[in-house]
């Protein structure tokens, strides 16, 4: 028998890893922390709701749709807002605030959508969960299989894209040195737009899977973003594989940590769950600002391998 807490932790950490990998990818291209990243996922939770409650079809269709919708929302942020600001030489702070503004717009749109669905179709669109619509596979909820499979699939595909395809290598080249990338004939803007699309797409996939296990609400993006940033920072912010590991680590720490504390200290502690990623984030920034990957490098160097 698999303990429920392990199941919770696995599902949450895999979805978080999808989110933090994408956040890091956009951070690497545009060098701006994207505060709207959580809302990309919040938006696509409603795709799953619509598929299940209104169209009454298989909830997993939302994975593909979520990827596309998430990708498009992210692409709009990059192409319509950030790119023009970057071209005008906007500072880091301006860009960051622009993402917060975009987050507010998305949050409003999500609320409008939630109200519209609620009034038109008489379904509950706030604090909803679709656990009961999931299938069972080997006496386990399907999401318990799908979330890890999806996470592994995504990170392996990203690895192949970035190291085995010409366009993927061009994405890395454009991230490292955009001027030189332009000089050799790479369309830097296209590679950045692709990074944003993929990042938004991954957030969209995570969002599409969320309601099958967790309670969703229009503000879920804001609640997730702390964990996502913590995961990316633990991962070092400049390495998608680090971000992926960071997502797994933070997800595990959050669920298992809260579970353990509820058992020992009392259940009143559960609402303080966001403190766990915040503390890990603070500790990382204080003692290992380059994150996991930095520690890894230092360790390798010390042991003389490099």
């Amino acid at each position: 028998m698999i303990p429920p807490m392990i199941r919770d932790a696995t599902i949450f950490s895999c979805l978080l890893a999808l989110l933090s990998t994408g956040l890091t990818l956009t951070y690497m291209t545009t060098k701006v922390p994207n505060f709207a990243h959580g809302s990309f996922a919040a938006m696509t939770t409603y795709i799953t709701l619509i598929l299940v409650k209104i169209l009454k079809v298989n909830p997993y269709f939302s994975v593909g749709l979520g990827f596309i919708l998430g990708g498009v929302i992210a692409l709009i942020l990059y192409q319509v807002i950030l790119k023009p600001l970057l071209d005008r030489g906007a500072s880091y702070i301006v860009l960051m605030i622009a993402t917060i503004g975009y987050d507010m717009i998305l949050y409003s749109l999500i609320n409008i959508l939630a109200d519209y669905l609620n009034r038109t179709y008489k379904i509950s669109t706030r604090l909803y969960i679709l656990k009961s619509y999931d299938f069972r596979v080997f006496h386990q909820p399907c999401i318990f299989i799908v979330a890890p499979v999806m996470a592994v699939l995504v990170i392996v595909s990203l690895y192949f894209l970035l190291t085995r395809t010409r366009f993927g290598i061009a994405m890395r080249a454009a991230i490292e040195n955009p001027a030189l990338a332009g000089v050799v004939g790479i369309n830097v803007n296209l590679t950045y737009a692709a990074s944003w699309f993929i990042a938004g797409g991954l957030a969209g996939v995570a969002g599409a899977l969320l309601p099958l296990w967790l309670m969703c609400n229009p503000d879920i993006g804001g609640r997730l973003i702390v964990s996502v940033f913590a995961a990316s920072i633990v991962g070092g912010l400049t390495n998608i594989y680090g971000a992926f590991l960071g997502g797994i680590l933070i997800g595990m720490a959050e669920v298992l940590g809260t579970g353990y504390l509820s058992l020992t200290v009392g259940t009143w502690i559960a609402p303080y769950r966001p403190i766990i990623p915040l503390v890990i984030m603070a500790v990382t920034l204080l003692f290992a600002p380059t994150g996991l990957t930095g520690i890894g490098l230092r360790f390798l160097r010390r042991s003389g391998k490099r």
Partner: protein, 236 residues
């Protein structure tokens, strides 16, 4: 032919080049010289759309280049070896070469890599290493090979001999002469070693403080009674 008219350019609010008007000619080695910080690199970067252009125009065979994105300029057959950051350090040498041929077909890239590897054996020697781990000179040779990979119509070199040993530096300059003679391409060469460069060059352009103070035959600048001594350390 590249024709620059009344060019004022710089970096955001930092004005570097003032009213530059000149012509770089085909089948010629055009040598750009001048003291440190006089704007030589900025001139090359401006041709590639990597600076802020306040006014003026840059035309290549009559077509305006300013306003185009760098990758569009690259696709018009202009190649450029930057002075610094001229390889992708996080990419392997193999990946760097693949990127250098980004605008070519895959088979063509492989063919061209074989060809340039003959001139620059470092490429094959460090094929799988990260370019960032190479020595300064090795990196410079990889960068040079990258610039040559595409068989461009115009080749701009920004201090190609910068971190090379004298013997190799001479070979590189010989290679540049050979490029002009065999491929008949336009070469724009920025060099710290003004004397050597002017000796192999056809046309010369002297930049001082962001202004063009001389242009003409390179022999003329080499033999000029004052300019050479004043700005380039060429005596007698």
């Amino acid at each position: 032919m590249i024709e620059i008219n009344g060019l004022n350019a710089g970096y955001k609010r930092l004005h570097v080049l003032y009213d530059i008007s000149l012509r770089f000619e085909k089948n010629k080695i055009n040598v750009v010289v001048g003291p440190n910080g006089s704007g030589k690199s900025t001139l090359l970067k401006s041709i590639f759309g990597l600076t802020t252009i306040y006014s003026g125009s840059i035309k290549f065979n009559g077509v305006k280049l300013n306003g185009l994105m760098p990758h569009q300029i690259a696709r018009r057959g202009i190649a450029y070896l930057p002075q610094v950051d001229n390889v992708f350090s996080n990419l392997t040498v193999a990946e760097n070469m693949l990127m250098a041929g980004y605008t070519l077909r895959r088979e063509e890239v492989e063919e061209r890599i074989e060809e340039v590897s003959e001139t620059f054996p470092v490429i094959k020697r460090y094929w799988k290493s990260k370019a960032g781990f190479l020595s300064g000179g090795e990196r410079q040779m990889v960068a040079m090979a990258m610039a040559l990979l595409r068989k461009p119509k115009v080749m701009m070199f920004d201090e190609p001999t910068g971190s090379l040993a004298p013997k190799i530096a001479n070979e590189v300059l010989e290679k540049i002469v050979e490029l002009r003679d065999t491929l008949g391409i336009m070469i724009i060469l920025v060099e710290q070693n003004a004397k050597k460069a002017l000796e192999i060059g056809d046309k010369a352009y002297l930049l001082v403080g962001g202004r063009l103070v001389f242009h003409g035959d390179s022999r003329e600048l080499l033999e000029h009674p004052e300019l050479g001594k004043l700005y380039l350390g060429i005596s007698g």
